[in-house]
């Protein structure tokens, strides 16, 4: 199942959710598709709105790639019965040095992505609130394992939300 996101195309938004329901009677029907679509929009909508203010095409492309992976994962989670409304929304902000911050926030953790013009400089982090600081993790997004990293971070958020 592939879900590509074009945030300025309402039809594609609908198709994303419709693809979720096709052949899945549990989530079949237009209401299920509408609900899934609304949940996805709730989670990534604010990020995409912030992204629309980014003028750097490289950063825009990187963030769109991230969102596409997110949506694929969200659809898979929904199909497997996960309740998406537990997931916090992704927030975006343009940093003063021109980088773009995408952050998933909870009271107990934060998952962040900092996108820079050169994809090799883009990075991810996971910060957990706790007595020790050993849980903090970070790494580059400019390598071949990017998809695996994103999936593991999304899985982390899904299991801790």
């Amino acid at each position: 199942m592939s879900a590509r996101w074009t945030y300025d195309s309402p039809i594609e938004r609908w198709n994303i959710a419709d693809a979720t329901s096709t052949g899945r009677q549990t989530y079949g029907g237009r209401f299920g598709a509408w609900y899934t679509n609304q949940e996805i929009l709730r989670i990534v909508g604010s990020l995409l709105k912030s992204l629309s203010e980014v003028s750097d095409p490289s950063i825009t492309e990187q963030v769109r790639d991230l969102v596409n992976v997110f949506i694929e994962m969200l659809v898979q989670l929904k199909v497997s019965g996960y309740e998406m409304r537990n997931l916090p929304p992704l927030k975006g902000a343009i940093l003063e040095d021109g980088a773009f911050l995408a952050e998933w926030l909870s009271h107990n953790y934060r998952v962040g992505f900092v996108f820079e013009t050169d994809p090799k400089d883009s990075m991810w982090y996971l910060v957990e609130k706790g007595e020790t600081l050993d849980q903090n993790k970070s790494g580059s997004l400019g390598n071949e394992d990017k998809q695996a990293i994103l999936r593991s971070l999304i899985a982390y958020v899904a299991s801790n939300s």
Partner: protein
């Protein structure tokens, strides 16, 4: 010489102003609340400085809430309170040893003013990670009462 933190007394808590809505998301302080500037002309003793207000007494809240920028309240999203101990803990951690500190820098208009300091010698990863690590340590958000 590191640490830069001068040997002077500090209260248990400090406040960080939240200037835009990007600084808060669903009641949680975002990493965007701690943007660090490493441009040479902005460094303070070789460090990027994030302004804070040391909570020596309750007046610091009024002082910071009254601060204006371009004729409008500077901290539109309120103030975030931090326990100093949480920063002390970060300063002792191997991940951030010798890159994080704080000081006092009293101003005429704000005698409570100080800074969290991040050394320009920090690695790029540390510079990107620290805003999130610091923001995670907040204990509460003090909203504006005037809207």
């Amino acid at each position: 010489m590191w640490p830069l933190t001068p040997k002077m007394s500090y209260p248990d808590t400090f406040l960080r102003g939240l200037s835009t809505d990007d600084c808060v998301s669903d009641g949680i302080v975002s990493s965007a609340a701690f943007q660090l500037h490493f441009e040479p002309h902005l460094l303070r003793n070789g460090c990027a400085a994030s302004s804070v207000g040391w909570e020596d007494d309750g007046s610091v809240i009024d002082v910071m809430m009254r601060q204006e920028k371009d004729g409008e309240p500077q901290f539109k999203a309120g103030l975030a309170r931090f326990q100093r101990e949480s920063i002390d803990r970060l300063m002792k951690s191997p991940a951030f040893a010798r890159v994080l500190s704080y000081d006092r820098e009293p101003l005429v208009e704000n005698p409570y003013h100080g800074n969290l300091l991040v050394s320009s010698t920090a690695t790029k990863t540390q510079k990107r990670l620290l805003p999130g690590v610091i923001a995670t340590q907040y204990s509460e958000i003090i909203p504006r009462l005037d809207g």
